[in-house]
Symmetry: C2
Subunit: 289 residues, 2 copies
């Protein structure tokens, strides 16, 4: 099984893209809805919660876990990969969503090998994320290596996740807080050519974001990138480079949905987002010392 972890239900947008590109594998989704959102929490809290979730998915039979949550990828992935796995789980792997999205912003095609000398993006790109993702500076650090001549505009958008969670996807109040964080991006001279929605909740705001960009001078030319497909495309090539891991993942096409809060509430959100009925199961994540 491939484990897919997110702080809540937003990561289902990533799961959906993974399933579309790699439908044969088994997937187990875990949303930590009882402690969502992670975006404003400290590094320590995000690391601890993510470690608990990853250990849970390992124990549930997932040799590979994808952190579909940007905040978890930005604040916990590196430490998990460099310290936790070698010490406790040398045979497991964890992948995040920051690196694949940064590669796409850098103009690297999905099939580019690590260390490739493919032409790198220049110009301006923007990354919109939670306070935690932006504070981690993860996108800047990745892009400094991948495309040093790309100018990066980063913008934290603290209220966007609560707006999505409250179902406020348009209207004057939502537009106010969309403009509040899009205006500084549009003030960049020259305009960014691409804007990355670096939070799994943000694609639900995409129609309203698109409308605001289209109304701004030159804004219609700005491309909006979501992470789901970028991550899925790169997982395909990662699998090809790691046949030993691919061989360990079940291929029965099974799908499982776990949540740390009310499974009925989660299933309703999941169905609205995925368009298919699902059954969710409630779990508690044991503390990891």
């Amino acid at each position: 099984m491939i484990g897919v972890f997110d702080s809540g239900f937003g990561g289902l947008t990533v799961l959906s893209a993974l399933v579309a590109r790699l439908p044969g594998f088994d997937y187990l989704y875990l949303g930590d809805s009882a402690r969502a959102p992670y975006g404003g929490r400290s590094h320590e809290a995000v690391y601890q919660f993510t470690r608990e979730a990853v250990e849970f998915l390992f124990d549930a039979g997932c040799p590979l876990v994808i952190l579909a949550c940007n905040t978890a990828s930005a604040r916990a992935l590196r430490t998990l990969q460099q310290r936790h796995l070698p010490a406790r789980r040398p045979d497991r792997r964890i992948l995040g969503v920051v690196r694949p999205a940064a590669e796409a912003l850098a103009g690297l095609p999905p099939e580019a090998l690590p260390g490739t000398t493919a032409p790198r993006a220049t110009g301006v790109a923007a990354v919109l994320g939670t306070a935690g993702t932006i504070a981690s500076d993860s996108y800047r650090l990745e892009l400094a290596k991948l495309a040093p001549r790309l100018r990066l505009v980063q913008q934290a958008c603290p209220l966007w996740v609560p707006l999505v969670e409250a179902g406020e996807l348009d209207g004057a109040g939502t537009e106010f807080f969309l403009r509040k964080y899009l205006d500084p991006v549009l003030a960049a001279d020259p305009h960014p050519e691409r804007i990355l929605l670096a939070c799994t909740h943000y694609p639900l705001l995409r129609p309203a974001i698109r409308r605001i960009l289209d109304q701004a001078p030159g804004g219609a030319a700005i491309e909006i990138l979501e992470q789901g497909r970028l991550v899925a495309d790169r997982l395909v090539t990662w699998m090809a480079r790691h046949p030993e891991m691919a061989a360990r993942l079940g291929r029965g096409g099974a799908r499982g949905y776990l949540t740390t809060d009310d499974p009925g509430w989660f299933a309703a959100r999941a169905e609205a987002l995925l368009g298919i009925p699902i059954a969710a199961e409630a779990v508690r994540l044991p503390a990891v010392e």
Copy 2:
């Protein structure tokens, strides 16, 4: 020590009122910032988290714990009092903020004894709270006993806590979401005479709420009630009726501040809210089976 628990830092408004009325006691405040806000979480999650916090404060030396969080008071207090305490902690007490606020809405003076026949409020009152507090129907249940002729308007305000957490205390976007939840209250005919801010975060929005009420026809006459003083006034009389508990509480004037997330972040919020410098300590709440 008197333990004071809230999902985050908002409960400091209650602590502040308690300290003003009963300064001689020792207080230990615990904010579960790593899992805040509780307002949208399921009954099970709120119960579990609150139980962990209460047990932690008991073990830290608090014979009495005040749940300063409305969501915790509404969703967890009754079960804690009726099942958890008798089975595991018969010598401890837990009090919430719903009952004192309901007594105030019902027109009962703080010194009224339980079962008193004092005159009860009539007319219309409104309670504004989180989705969890309103869904629990706790205020309606309390008021049906305390003031059966009082008509109650309840309104969930899902985005108000995130607005406060993001520091968005005024401006057009905030006003939009204040009006969104105040308009149904103002549509009640006749107007409510009193509006209870039944969430510890909401007092920070009070100036903006007052402005909107004042602009509405007849709205200037509406009284806004906050919980801090109501709870403190009633704790004074509760102490007088429970001298055996009062005798067990330390009286050195000590103050302690604990948080489950970053203590620096918490201390900064606490200082802004209390106006005095404090030192906060990070703790982890052990799971309670």
